[in-house]
């Protein structure tokens, strides 16, 4: 009896060990290197002095430029998350409630875009919003404009690009939650006197919160950590914190600064996750994946 209990205690660790090993080798150790880098000093392009100093950290803490970037990132992430939640709930609800027999087809359509690189999907907006794009072509055709309107490279297109790429994550999360709700609950509310809208608001919406919350967290963190979409679809002012990291590492070849900024972003997004799960209850989030 004792023996089997003990072996049962160890079994989860035994099962986890391959992934723990992979995470250690591929994530924890490389990140430790990056952390160490953040204390080095960059003396010239790609020339670092191995030392232990807080100069990089001090710069990030005090320079207003970085604070602006944090604020911009936070703001855009919130906008994208809220829009994705509203736009994502409707198709998720439809897929969950439809009596359509081949529901899997709808879900397949949802994940179909994942088969195309998201950079290509993002670039495709140039063909819609660009000067030679579909919209300008249409406007010209209708005789609305003579010269092409500049629709691209602003915050709006960045938001569109983000929603386009992240919406499936939101829909899938909400869908899973809705799918788990007992299909008799809404009818039960109806027979008790609730209108369709009241039944949705009182029963379905609160019960789908775990999925909605998980989807929101996912989209928020994914948006907050990205840099490619603003790079492709944004103007010079539409940068996120991730773009600063990209610039530091790729353009300025200042790896110590890039390392510092990376950890700053990691810390901030980690903080969001922790606060969020405190607020929503972590068990609420795990429910969505059950």
């Amino acid at each position: 009896m004792m023996q089997s209990d003990q072996s049962a205690d160890k079994r989860p660790w035994a099962l986890l060990s391959p992934s723990l090993f992979a995470i250690t080798i591929l994530v924890v150790i490389p990140m430790a290197f990056i952390l160490v880098y953040s204390f080095y000093e960059n003396v010239d392009l790609a020339v670092d002095r191995v030392t232990f100093q807080f100069g990089n950290w001090q710069e990030v803490m005090t320079d207003g430029y970085y604070h602006t970037a944090i604020w911009k990132t936070l703001r855009l992430s919130v906008i994208v998350t809220v829009l994705a939640a509203i736009l994502g709930y409707i198709p998720a609800y439809f897929i969950a409630m439809t009596k359509f027999r081949d529901k899997w087809l709808l879900l397949l359509l949802l994940i179909l875009p994942f088969w195309i690189s998201f950079i290509i999907r993002t670039l495709s907006w140039i063909h819609i919003f660009g000067n030679q794009g579909a919209l300008n072509g249409l406007f010209r055709l209708l005789g609305l404009t003579d010269a092409p309107l500049s629709l691209m490279y602003n915050e709006f297109t960045v938001i569109i690009g983000f929603i386009h790429v992240f919406l499936p994550y939101m829909i899938l999360n909400i869908y899973v939650s809705l799918e788990g709700i007992d299909e008799n609950l809404e009818p039960a509310a109806r027979t008790l006197g609730a209108t369709p809208w009241q039944a949705f608001r009182e029963v379905t919406l609160p019960l789908s919160m775990p999925g909605l919350a998980a989807g929101c967290l996912l989209v928020f963190v994914l948006t907050g950590g990205s840099y490619v979409t603003p790079l492709i679809l944004g103007g010079p002012g539409d940068f996120l914190f991730g773009n600063l990291i990209y610039d530091a590492v790729v353009s300025e070849l200042n790896w110590p600064m890039g390392a510092t900024l990376s950890f700053t972003l990691l810390f901030l997004l980690g903080l969001v996750v922790v606060l969020y799960s405190r607020l929503m209850g972590l068990n609420q989030l795990s429910k969505a994946f059950r």
Partner: protein, 359 residues
């Protein structure tokens, strides 16, 4: 409380007819059971009364008013679902008060009504708990309380006992009936369980493949089945092909190779009409086995082929010539065993005559 009438109700899903031309009256304050195997259309009827499904044809009349076009939330019906359908994110108190919110009941009145309905289902003081903290039987009671607290015109029960385990089911059966008696609400109960139907109902509507086979009081349906389906679905029956050997003022004389001439009472041969051929129906519990040495009238010699021992009862499979019959007898002394030669007797007054099997 209200009388419910289904007039020529039809429901089709594409080419499938789930309910074919049903005419049923549910008397005010009565307990009526829709009984039948799964897919017979009984749940479809319940869903149509509640508004969750629309009839393809026909009228649903509640309390003298046609309600076909009344939306679900305005019908004032209490529906108890098979899986209870309690709101998991609401407390028991909030669950029960849910319907009161839409009826303009004040908070304090609602509290009082919730308390009262919990008393009725004999589960007081659980207002602040959540559904998943209660057992299946308790959740069942809450679902019932939630349905009756709104004082519905009609109480609709969709197999409410089928998710409970056997012992609890029998207790709840008695209790459910007692509650219905007390509040006197017109009740439509859907089940596939014949013993539930027989024990609880004022009237049973037996359905098969979308057709209402028979409507009647439990003993009526059991003793004088209107069709072969009803005879075989309710209880265990033996159906023997028979020819009509004559008719007199007491009944119809049915002649079978096994038992010779049996005079079935007029009241038990209504559906036979004046056909020349029919079937003699003998309930398994009305076939009595005795030792082969004792020969009674209306009897035949038989051999016991198998015994299904059930404690106070035994179910015997006996063979007379080429016919196998079922008999369920109380055991007095020692039960017969397979291979025993026995005498099988029937009482003509307990038999029924049914139309011949066409197929």
């Amino acid at each position: 409380m209200a009388r419910v009438e289904l007039i020529n109700i039809q429901k089709s899903y594409g080419s499938v007819q789930a309910v074919k031309n049903a005419n049923v009256v549910f008397e005010e304050g009565s307990f009526t059971t829709l009984l039948g195997p799964s897919g017979c259309g009984k749940t479809t009827i319940l869903r149509m009364v509640s508004g969750l499904a629309d009839p393809t044809n026909g009228d649903i009349v509640v309390g003298g008013k046609r309600i076909n076009n009344v939306p679900i939330h305005k019908r004032n019906l209490g529906l108890v679902f098979q899986n209870y359908a309690l709101f998991p994110h609401r407390t028991i108190g909030e669950n029960i008060a849910f319907g009161l919110k839409y009826r303009g009941v004040s908070k304090s009145d609602a509290q009082e009504k919730v308390r009262h309905s919990l008393d009725i289902v004999r589960l007081p003081g659980v207002e602040d708990r959540y559904p998943q903290q209660l057992s299946g039987g308790q959740q069942q009671r809450i679902a019932l309380a939630r349905a009756i607290v709104i004082e519905p015109d009609v109480l609709l029960l969709d197999e409410p006992l089928s998710a409970l385990d056997a012992n609890l089911r029998e207790d709840m059966r008695v209790e459910l009936k007692a509650i219905q008696d007390r509040i006197g609400v017109t009740t439509i109960f859907v089940t596939h369980d014949q013993s539930e139907a027989l024990a609880m109902s004022d009237k049973i509507v037996v359905m098969s493949a979308g057709v209402v086979e028979q409507i009647g009081a439990p003993d009526e349906v059991y003793n004088t089945p209107a069709s072969e389906f009803v005879a075989t679905f309710l209880g265990a029956s033996n159906l023997l092909p028979a020819t009509v050997a004559g008719r007199n003022e007491t009944g119809v004389i049915m002649e079978t190779p096994e038992f010779g001439k049996t005079c079935v009472p007029v009241a038990r041969s209504i559906t036979l009409g004046d056909a020349a051929k029919g079937q003699l129906m003998i309930r398994a519990e009305n076939l009595h086995l005795t030792k082969a040495s004792i020969t009674k009238i209306d009897s035949a010699n038989a051999v016991v082929e198998a015994v299904d021992y059930q404690g106070q009862l035994a179910r015997y499979f006996v063979r007379i010539g080429n016919t196998q019959l079922q008999a369920i007898n109380m055991i007095s002394g020692r039960p017969f065993s397979a291979g025993d030669k026995v005498n099988v007797s029937l009482i003509p007054e307990e038999c029924s005559a049914l139309p011949a099997n066409d197929t």
